[in-house]
């Protein structure tokens, strides 16, 4: 209320002071007013844009963090995989003759290996099934081709290096030999 009163007074004052220039003066105010309105609109727009961008960035950040958390430890698991391969390579050498020392030693190895495998499965790290299935570039990498009459073309003949998924994500593609 008080503000309005003051405003009126100043206007009146100006009217008294410059009665002839009333039209022009009003125009000047109008121009000024329009300019300010325009500026205000631009600023409002900018402010909205920045706020929207901030919200979007926040949203994407939150999504990224939840994705990162979901696949927490992925880098570490990836580094462990070659060790598991090596366990398998060692076990493959067993001739299953329990009499000799190597086989006895390897049976202990097998136990350690299956412990490790259990831990992986509990953590939702699974082997990608390949042999006898059609080659799938989403989960496999073809490193070799061969030809086998009795097999359909494009089927996986052999796994050269096992692939793994962590939850739904492929963390290592299986290296396979494909029938051509």
């Amino acid at each position: 209320m008080e503000k309005e009163f003051v405003k009126k007074e100043t206007q009146e004052e100006q009217n008294i002071e410059l009665p002839k220039k009333k039209e022009k003066k009003k125009n000047k105010f109008e121009i000024e007013n329009e300019k300010l309105k325009e500026e205000n609109q631009i600023l409002n727009e900018k402010c909205l844009r920045i706020s929207a961008e901030l919200q979007n960035v926040k949203k994407r950040n939150a999504e990224e963090i939840s994705r990162l958390l979901k696949y927490d430890g992925e880098t570490f698991i990836k580094k462990i995989l070659p060790t598991i391969d090596n366990f398998e390579r060692a076990i493959l050498l067993d001739d299953a003759n329990l009499e000799d020392e190597v086989s006895k030693f390897l049976s202990g190895f097998k136990m350690i290996y299956s412990n490790l495998k259990n831990i992986l499965e509990e953590s939702e790290i699974k082997e990608i099934p390949c042999v006898g299935l059609p080659f799938d570039p989403n989960t496999m990498e073809a490193v070799l081709t061969d030809h086998e009459e009795n097999m359909e073309k494009g089927m996986v003949m052999e796994v050269l290096q096992k692939g793994y998924t962590y939850k739904e994500k492929v963390i290592r593609h299986a290296m396979v030999k494909v029938n051509d």
Binding site: K46, R49, I50, E53, L54, N56, V57, R60, N86, R89, A90, L92, L93, F135, P137, N138, M140, E141, A142, V143, L144, T145, G154, L160, Q161, K169, V170, H173, M175, V178, D180
Partner: protein
Amino acid sequence: MGKIIGIDLGTTNSCVAVLEGGEPKVIVNDEGERTTPSVVAFKGEEELVGARAKRQAVTNVNNTIASIKRLMGTKEKVTANDKKWTPEEISAKILSKLKKDAENYLGEDVKEAVITVPAYFNDAQRQATKNAGKIAGLDVKRIINEPTAAALAYGLDKQEKLQTILVYDLGGGTFDVSILELGDGLFEVKSTAGNNRLGGDDFDQRIIDYLVSEFKKQEGIDLSKDKMAMQRLKDSAEKAKKDLSGMAKTQISLPFISQKDGSPVHLEMELSKAKFEDLCRDLFDSTLEPVRKALKDAKLKSSDIDEVILVGGSTRIPYIQELVKKELGKEPHKGVNPDEVVAMGAAIQGGVLTGEVDDLVLLDVTPLSLGIETLGGVMTVLIPRNTTIPTSKSQVFSTAADNQPAVDIHVLQGERPMAQDNKTLGNFQLMDIPPAPRGIPQIEVKFDIDANGIVHVTAKDLGTNKEQTITITSNTSLSDEEIDKMVKEAEQNKEADEKRKEQANVKNDADSLIFATEKAIKDLGDKVDEKDKKEAEEKMKDLKESLEKDDIEDIKKKTESLNEIAMKLATKVYEQAAKEQKPEENAQTEKKDDVEEANYEEK
């Protein structure tokens, strides 16, 4: 208005980025990777792009297309799926995939892009790139040179004077040198040179060859005939190369790599950085020739170059960085991800075109932490360093003594934990605090920094709403060197400072305990056991003496000792309170819990 994405359409790999909050951000693809192989494959009706296409390549050689960039702008066509494709059409498939990945990330349609091309691309090649964008459903707002994009990513366009920039781009399979002149928003390519068949893959191959020959010498086995062994060697070689960018040596161990007379043979070798450099020295050194040629063509000497930028993953190799530095006598710009700078620069160009860059207000950060002094001479930080301004932050504190009539607000700037080591910005008092026990009054301290770095500090007694303010304008008067010095000092004195802070905390705890015990005795009055009271009083006296002597270990010991009897008394107080069931007192205790533990020192 949608976003304009920036695309680095590479020979071996491509990358897409977008400006986000004024900063370029690389978009990860649907497989979670930051770069996408520039490979396209056709498999029946299915079209594969990126890593998927690369992984199936050996099963589908005739219908898999890689390095299409080398054909851009030519009339040559590639055949796949019994159809002839123009290079534009194949490139468009890569661009479509990048567009889709960007749309997935942004959650909105993407219609416009800035695409980069090598500086030596002619008009036909540029036009072909633009057409590829069009086929992919992208309005290509601008085609910019890869080295220009790199310069943009490093903000080199913001310099006022005309500058000459050399961009050294060593990627996975190509090497480019470009010399640019830029200033006043204008870019001019002065010369280009390079070798389009040299890159990171060649260095990996050298390591593989070395490992194969060493293994042959040691075990007499030729691994090069064993495809699986070679695959394992390839992975290890690449990893070793990456390791050697940060380490002096690395271990390559591939157990069960082969068999000899029915027994397993393992490969176990150490590769030193020096050996790796030996293996690849001729390749590394060969990059200098194009650098010299580019200088010569631009009619410049190496001393005429103002800035040097390293681009491409292979520039992470320390030998390369040294080589360039030595040749040009300048410390080169190198980012954390040299394989992403081109896409990032393209995204910045996109931001310039949408006006996002112009709208950008450059916001300052506080160079040093701001806070106040609290009990025991400790600095309590309210606004940590590197906080973007304008900002404000408030925290509630309380008094350190019963009936304390005023609090001193000592405003500090610096990184040291103890108040006396930091810079004093100002001092003021909030007076007329109504008499109240220690810890009861709630004093809110608010720091407010405006965009100009001017700090307003307000202290307000939440009980009476009385407040006092100080405005500090001298905040910005510190020079960069002084700020650096203060940060460094804080690092150097970290251990000693922490010890002193811990000592202050020990003393504060002792002080609080004495206060609490005295209060408990007073509250209990005659209900307290005379023996307990006497014991407590004696121990308090001991602790007070110890505090005066400033013997920290002794204070700790005596605090513990007093604590035992204090607990006993406290239990009694609570029992008493429960019996009497005084709701007001409970409310008071709760209120106390809200208050920060830090107390003002009584002055």
